[in-house]
Amino acid sequence: MIGEISHFLSLSAVLLLSLVLIFNLFFSFSKIHPNQLILSMRLFNQACWLVFISFGMYVYLAISDDFSIAYIASHSNSQLPIFYKITSIWSAHEGSMFLWIVFLTAWSILFINSLDNNHPLKKFTLLMLSLIILGFLLFLLLTSNPFERILPFGALEGADINPVLQDPALAIHPPMLYLGYVGFVISFSFITAYLINGNFELQWEQDIKNWSLVAWIFLTIGIALGSWWAYYELGWGGYWFWDPVENVALMPWLAATAFMHSMFASSKSNVLKTWTMFLGILIFALSLFGAFIVRSGIIDSVHSFANDPERGLYLLGFSGLITLLALTIFAYRLPVLNSSKLVVTGSKESFLSMNNILMITSIFSIFLGVTYPLIIESINGEKVSIGPPYYNTIFAPLILIAAIFIMISVDALWQRSMPLRKLFITTATPIMLSLVSIYLIWWTTSVFSILAYIGVFSGLLILFSYLLRIINNLFNKKFINKGSAIAHTGLGLLFFAVSMNSILSYEKNLNLAPGQSISVDNSIQEFSFNDIRVFKASNHDVISAEVLLLQDDKEISLNPQKRKYATRGQITSESSIYTNFLKDTYLTVGDQLENNSWTFSLKINYFIKWIWFSAGLMVLGMLLTIFKKKAS
């Protein structure tokens, strides 16, 4: 019964949103009545609440184990803790789409109610938001209905959530990511409304600035959590695989980053306005592209949901429709928009726009990497895959150029050109320090890889530039933008950590029988495989290896495990990780060989925790920027 009510509420939301659109379309040719907006707003708010209540009931259905709902029966289980009963909702296509729509609705209702009723863009923004929510609700109900019942008799027990998804990081990774993706519906709708409205004297940046910054924070956390989960749960020891679905998350992130930078420039010095608008539209278009790639099954990936061409066509059609709508209006208005104000060469915004171009180049390269296999397959049926070598080669030079511009822009001024002499003075120190560090790294490790060293150098350039600036601030009280300094330090650290990780990390495969011990290398003096135990846990069997390491004169005990889950028969590998300041010791246990020995994979990952620390710094920097804006 509750399932039907929940279903009915979603259907009613569709009805109300259609009313908003039809009603406004109907009256668009007559004189505007003051109550028109008020009525539309009421309908819209009610539609949003219906979606929330409907989802709330669905959560209740999941908690109360209603296995007569087909989706819950095939993704949850009565033995699961309540937390995972709830998160099982977004473990597959239908439920996660529902969550996606709930977030879309939440952002929309918050934003539209924050606008004053006299705001000239309110009406068109409302219509855009209604159209987008309506389109996706219809997608949910028509092609991927989560409310479907198993008739006449429901299942007695659920099929269980995939065990690798029973993990706190993964439980919150999709919600964070979705909050980021759909948060940019605000900039998308607002900019489109601005373009439709046609009064270009309006200042629009302030109204959506903080909303976009918050969405960026969610997107960043979402991507970082996904990568962290992949590192410790999948047991491959990697943190980023250039998987198509990671790529489609990275594209909106890059576009969003470029968008924020050019928004800072356009609000500081009134340049790059057109460019900012284009980026604002692009972010959401790329988010939709991501949803299409993941949910159409067009690409095989660990992330993709079931293959269903009907869903793919609907998503493609609808996303294409609203993207084209926005871009067509943009193209139509382009001649009027072109601001006559030019960017001053050598000013802060000039370097900033250079980096925007680099970010667009990266987006294009990733887009090419994602679609190239599809293009080839459609031409001659061959399957090709594009992996890390492509991305590393493309990104190393882009990162270097970006780092140089970031370094220069640290001391550049808004709207004024920087004297060449000053440029040399300020950049000489970071360049020298970076070169010396590179030499030291090469001298101590005697590893040489041109791409990795480019990355290290780029990271150090950014780090040293900002460190010098911070020191200058502490001792000479020179002005510093704290948010920017922290976020960019995070970026420098990220480049540094990723590249150092690829230079220093190594992997050993070992075969040992219980009771044996060997010496691995200078660092790991002793590896003793003490025992292997088999026992039963609540819903899985465990094989647990007890290993004692003598690493750098320190004893470390590690317990890598293999688990076999009863309901699905799936086997997962739980790696055991020991972390210290510089490196992770990462051990997974493999299979038993015929002579009673077991295989182990031992990975030494340098600077890996620094990667997520640097993501944290970027988020912190962005938070400071938001709160500083609020304070002033």
């Binding site: 067009i298 061409p309 493609l316 294409g320 084209l324 397959e377």
Partner: protein, 173 residues
């Protein structure tokens, strides 16, 4: 220059759109044609009642449905299979990695839409067929595998994938 730019901003997404739509449609065609003329593997198994499966039982138009008593989705698609068997569609079960006791109890409890079920506790026949999990369904016409559906079968999949193949097979014979 400006005109060209405006033109491109609209044109490029349209090109991308058409491209992706085309790939999606090609994908479906490949799914349909993939199982052309693959011979059904030889069966040396018993059915759930312990009788050897006769080789001529796969003559004519048959649907082979992979199922198991442990498989929840099989229960989900069970009503649809019952509906098919009521319409005189001949369905043969392939009981996959299951125990005959549990399987027979399951059929007794939920109803039996199958002519008979091949008992394949180790998954030998399933391996030959390329089964990845239960449920899956194969369309078999005169000992040849013509079509394949992974996962739950429903009206839509039946109408778009198996029904056209059946009609084609009927016209051919």
């Amino acid at each position: 220059m400006n005109h060209l730019l405006r033109f491109l901003i609209v044109l490029l997404p349209i090109v991308a759109l058409i491209f992706f739509a085309k790939i999606l449609l090609i994908d479906e065609e490949i799914q349909l044609s993939n199982y052309d003329l693959k011979d059904f593997p030889e069966v040396q198994l018993n059915d759930l009642n312990g009788n050897p499966v006769q080789s001529d039982s796969l003559k004519g138009i048959k649907v082979l449905n992979v199922w198991a008593s442990w498989c929840i989705t099989c229960l989900v698609e069970h009503p649809f299979l019952t509906k098919l068997s009521d319409q005189n569609i001949q369905i043969i079960g392939l009981n996959y990695k299951d125990s005959d006791l549990k399987a027979n109890a399951w059929l007794k409890k939920h109803g039996n839409p199958y002519l008979f079920s091949i008992y394949d506790p180790r998954g030998d026949l399933a391996f030959e067929l390329g089964v990845t999990g239960a449920p899956e369904s194969y369309l078999i016409v005169n000992n040849q595998v013509l079509g394949h559906i992974q996962g739950e079968m429903d009206q839509r999949k039946w109408d778009t994938i198996f029904l056209p193949l059946i009609q084609k097979a009927k016209q051919g014979s």
